[in-house]
Every structure is written in structure tokens, then in C-alpha cells.
């Protein structure tokens, strides 16, 4: 295990034993940006406020249930899995609101044709399965590498590559069905 993982394990152990806020805040400080990005990768662009709500929920859950962490995986893997699952639940509960998936939050100062292409691509992204959409966002939006995404989601790099491949394939078919050419 890396030293970062060791430090997490130590912090969790101390926090479980002594319930000191300072230890919990140190854990939050170390992981809050990643938790936020995982949530945002599921919820999609334009939903930073929702992703922040999810991140808050995740850390409140961890604060109250950290004893449930059994140490069978890295703390970060356990934490990001909670974040991913919470974000998926949140996205499903906001289904009606997600009709706006088709509207990208890009500046509309480009050519109308570019805006239409962006809208089509955003709509195709919105139709992807959650895991594929999440890895596309983490990879192309946040610039994470395949090994980084694999570590974050607690899966093998090959699995991430397969999800990316399938996502690109589905997007290509979706765009072709919409008659969009780039």
C-alpha cells in the first residue's frame, strides 16, 4: 500500500478511536476534491451545486459510519465508491431535471453548427450507462489517466479502457444516427 493509503488508514483508525474533529477534517481535506469530481462525473456538466450536495452527504455519512470501514480495501476506494453510488442515486432521483442533458454548458459564441454538434454530443453522453459516462467525464473533462480512474473507481485499468472503448463506440453510433458529422 502507498504511503498516502497508509496515512488514510492511520487517520481513520485514530478518528474511530478518538472521534477528534481534526482527524476527520484532515481526511476531508485530502479527499474532498476527488469526491466532488467523482460526483460531478456521474451528474455531468452544469451540476456542480448538486455534486457539492452529494460530496457533503458522503462526508456526513462517513463521519457517522466510518466504523463500517473494515480496511479490506483502501479507504479512498471505499470513499469514492460511496460517492459514486450516492451520485448515481441522486442522478436517478433528479431524472426529470436531467432533460437538460441535451443542453451543454458551453459558451454560445461559436458557430451555430458547432453549438448543434456540442448539443448532439452532450445528448449522446447523457444516454450512456453511468459507468461509461463517468469515465468519459473523468478522462476527457478532468484529464485523469486510465490508471488514476481505475484507482478512483476501484477497478482494473483494463476495465476502464473497455468502458472508454464502449463509450466512444456508443457515442459514434449515436452521432451517426443523429446525422452529425465532425
Amino acid at each position: 500500500m502507498s504511503s498516502a493509503a497508509d496515512e488514510d488508514t492511520d487517520l481513520v483508525a485514530v478518528f474511530v478511536a478518538e472521534r477528534r474533529s481534526a482527524d476527520f477534517e484532515r481526511l476531508v481535506e485530502r479527499h474532498r476534491d476527488s469526491v466532488f469530481r467523482v460526483a460531478l462525473s456521474v451528474l455531468g456538466p452544469g451540476r456542480a451545486r448538486y455534486a457539492e450536495d452529494v460530496a457533503q452527504d458522503v462526508f456526513v455519512h462517513v463521519y457517522r459510519n466510518v466504523a463500517a470501514f473494515e480496511g479490506r480495501s483502501r479507504f479512498s476506494t471505499w470513499l469514492y465508491r460511496i460517492a459514486y453510488n450516492r451520485a448515481v442515486d441522486y442522478r436517478r432521483s433528479l431524472r426529470a431535471d436531467l432533460e437538460s442533458d441535451a443542453v451543454p454548458d458551453v459558451a454560445d459564441d461559436g458557430a451555430p453548427a458547432d453549438l448543434l454538434k456540442s448539443r448532439a454530443l452532450a445528448a449522446c453522453l447523457g444516454r450512456l450507462p453511468e459507468t461509461q459516462r463517468s469515465v468519459v467525464h473523468l478522462h476527457y473533462w478532468f484529464g485523469h489517466t486510465v490508471p488514476e480512474i481505475a484507482t478512483t473507481l476501484g477497478v482494473q485499468p483494463g476495465t476502464v479502457k473497455a468502458w472508454l472503448f464502449r463509450a466512444r463506440h456508443s457515442i459514434a453510433r449515436c452521432l451517426a444516427a443523429k446525422g452529425v458529422r465532425w
Binding site: S21, F24, E25, V28, E29, R32, D33, F36, L40, P45, A48, Y50, A51, E52, D53, A55, Q56, F59, V60, Y63, R64, Y90, S93, L94, P104, D105, V106, A107, S118, L121, A122, V136, H137, Y140, W141, F142, R168, I171, A172, L175, W182
Partner: protein
Amino acid sequence: MIHDDLSRHFANRERPQLSADFAVNLRNRVRSPDRPSALAALRRSALRLYWLGAIAVLVVYWPDVSLTPVEVGVLAVSVAIVARVWQRALRAPPLVRVLREALWR
């Protein structure tokens, strides 16, 4: 290539950051009493009571009725639908949850 299209699509897209008061809000939330959990427990209890009641009704009335397989199927589907509606009705949507926690903070 789709890879290039995606790279171009996200190239100029803003990468949001957590708000500056994230840590303060979180600190307030973890220090507040665990009242949402009490509500969740109440919801779970209500669901358990519903199911216990439904089973009790079945046990009491089952010997007196003879149902065809189709009727049993319709009954099972009806019970499942009612249970699902109950579940959805009792689950607070995110907006209600956020407002509730804001009021209790």
C-alpha cells in the same frame, strides 16, 4: 475520431471547484443532531408495519378464499404496486432534504 471530438468538446469546458464554504457547511452538518436518521428510521418502521399488516391480513383471510392462479397473480402485482407507491411517497426528494437540513441547521 470520437477521441478527438470528445477532447475538443471538453477542452474549453469549465472545471468546477468546491465552494469556499464547503468545509464550514460540512462542519455544521456533522455537528448537528442526527435528526434525518431518526426520520429515516420512522420511514423504515412505517414500511415494516405496512408489510406486517399486509401479511396479517393475508393470513387472516387466506383460508376463506380460493383464488385462481390469475387472481393470485393480480393480487401479487397489486400488492407490489402499492408497496412501490408507498416507498416512493415516503422517500423525501433531494430538494426537500436540502431544505429540511437547511432549516434544522
